[in-house]
Amino acid sequence: MGSGKRVVVIDYEMCNLDSVVRAVEECGGDSVVTREPKVLDQGTHLILPGVGAFADAMANLRRLGLAAALQEQVLEKRIPVLGVCLGMQLLARRGDEGGETPGLALLPAEVRRLRSEVPGVRIPHVGWNEVHTVRPSRLLEGIQPGKDFYFVHSYHVVCDDPADSVATTPYADGFTSVVEHENVFGVQFHPEKSQQAGFRLLRNFLAV
């Protein structure tokens, strides 16, 4: 039994997949973890998780043939994709971690390092912080505005079109923490580590 939602969690050999998989199952989805490009066909939804460095992650996605498969599923077949943390950043056109690296270009955006001139504002941004909805959002439906989610990152996404930025977080001058662009979704925090609010967000994604 299941919800009929089959989530393909993309494994590019860099991150913690266990917790994403368990969170998806907790939310009623079936999941399959893969590094085989052809398995991406089997999903109703795709999740690109992430921990690590942008350049290495892109190199792995290309080497495994996953970058092209993702682009095909998302751009041609219009399968919804959710990028988590580094996974969200990889959706962008390019990252500036360790020199400029082209990203998956599924989201018109680029990735920049968090910066702050304020002494108390430490980078990386680690811990629970607020997510404020700034535009109607499918992912954040039913989640109280300003709810805390768990972050651990040094880079953030800057959208070309502000309309794609649906929620922001007040840290280091504020940054986009949730993006929605057609069937492309991304969250800078870790829903799989954010307990009840995180599960609600994942259920919202499965309902897309």
Binding site: C15, N16, I123, G127, W128, H153, E192, K193, Q195, F199
Partner: protein, 252 residues
């Protein structure tokens, strides 16, 4: 606003949960899994798991055990103890750690910190520094579960860790560990002033006010504690209520 984290620390030697006094005389304090389930139910901010015997016993992390713990929690986990190679880091992340803490290897093999940060990102590499006060009160970092002096001041080691790419410092006072007499505030301050990455203060919490001091006077980004939760009625949630009353932003 970013919340100050209140983090229970779970120390273990292979199977049981232990708590120490000044990094010695560890006693078993019940089933680890049971503690994890309680913290999961109470939705704590984060957990730190440290295998305090791995380095002393010359072995690596117990991946199966970490996998079992991680399966019980949907909250952030920092895992440490016996981490010696990039492959150890990769495997810990693969079984469910969000961050990996490196203590002895920070001193004996600093390139490990650099390599791990480059491959997995700074945000998941925690430099764990154990500090002891010498009889002349000078602070010194120690490795191998507080059995080997390094001759280096904790603040100097912390700065080096940041340069190597560590994304966070877990700073433990060996002298205060398990004593419940308060964090070593000058130690905490010396490190928070030396680095621009977050610092988790650890060792000595006996009251909620001790935690407030670590934040308000020590400028810690998070407060870790073990004994206070195992041996008193105090809880992470009540700690956060106290911190909130003292004007500290926490997640309630």
């Amino acid at each position: 606003m970013l919340k100050v984290r209140v983090i229970p620390t779970l120390l273990y030697k292979s199977m049981g949960l232990v708590k120490g006094v000044a990094f010695d005389s560890w006693r078993h304090v019940g089933g680890l899994m049971q503690s994890i389930k309680v913290y999961e139910m109470r939705q704590v901010d984060e957990l730190v798991f440290l295998d305090i015997a791995a380095t002393r016993e010359g072995r690596g992390p117990d991946f199966q055990l970490v996998d079992d713990f991680a399966d019980e929690c949907f909250m952030p986990l920092t895992v440490g103890g016996g981490v010696r190679t990039v492959e150890d880091v990769r495997r810990l992340l693969a079984v469910g750690a969000d961050k990996v803490s490196i203590n002895t290897a920070l001193v004996t093999d600093p390139e490990l910190v650099r390599a791990a940060a480059r491959r997995f990102g700074s945000q998941c590499v925690v430099a764990s520094i154990d500090a002891r006060r010498r009889p002349d009160q000078v602070l010194e970092a120690e490795t191998h579960s507080g059995t080997r002096p390094t001759g280096v001041e904790p603040a100097v080691l912390a700065r080096k860790a940041e340069e190597l790419g560590a994304g966070e410092i877990l700073l433990t006072s060996i002298d205060r560990d398990g004593t419940m007499t308060g964090y070593d505030l000058p130690l905490v301050r010396s490190v928070t002033e030396a680095v621009s990455i977050p610092v988790i203060a650890s060792g000595g919490a006996g009251t909620y006010e001790h935690m407030a001091e670590a934040v308000l006077q020590g400028h810690a980004s998070a407060v870790a504690a073990g004994a206070i939760y195992h041996f008193t009625q105090q809880t992470p949630h009540e700690a956060k209520r106290h911190l909130a009353a003292r004007g500290v932003a926490v997640r309630l």
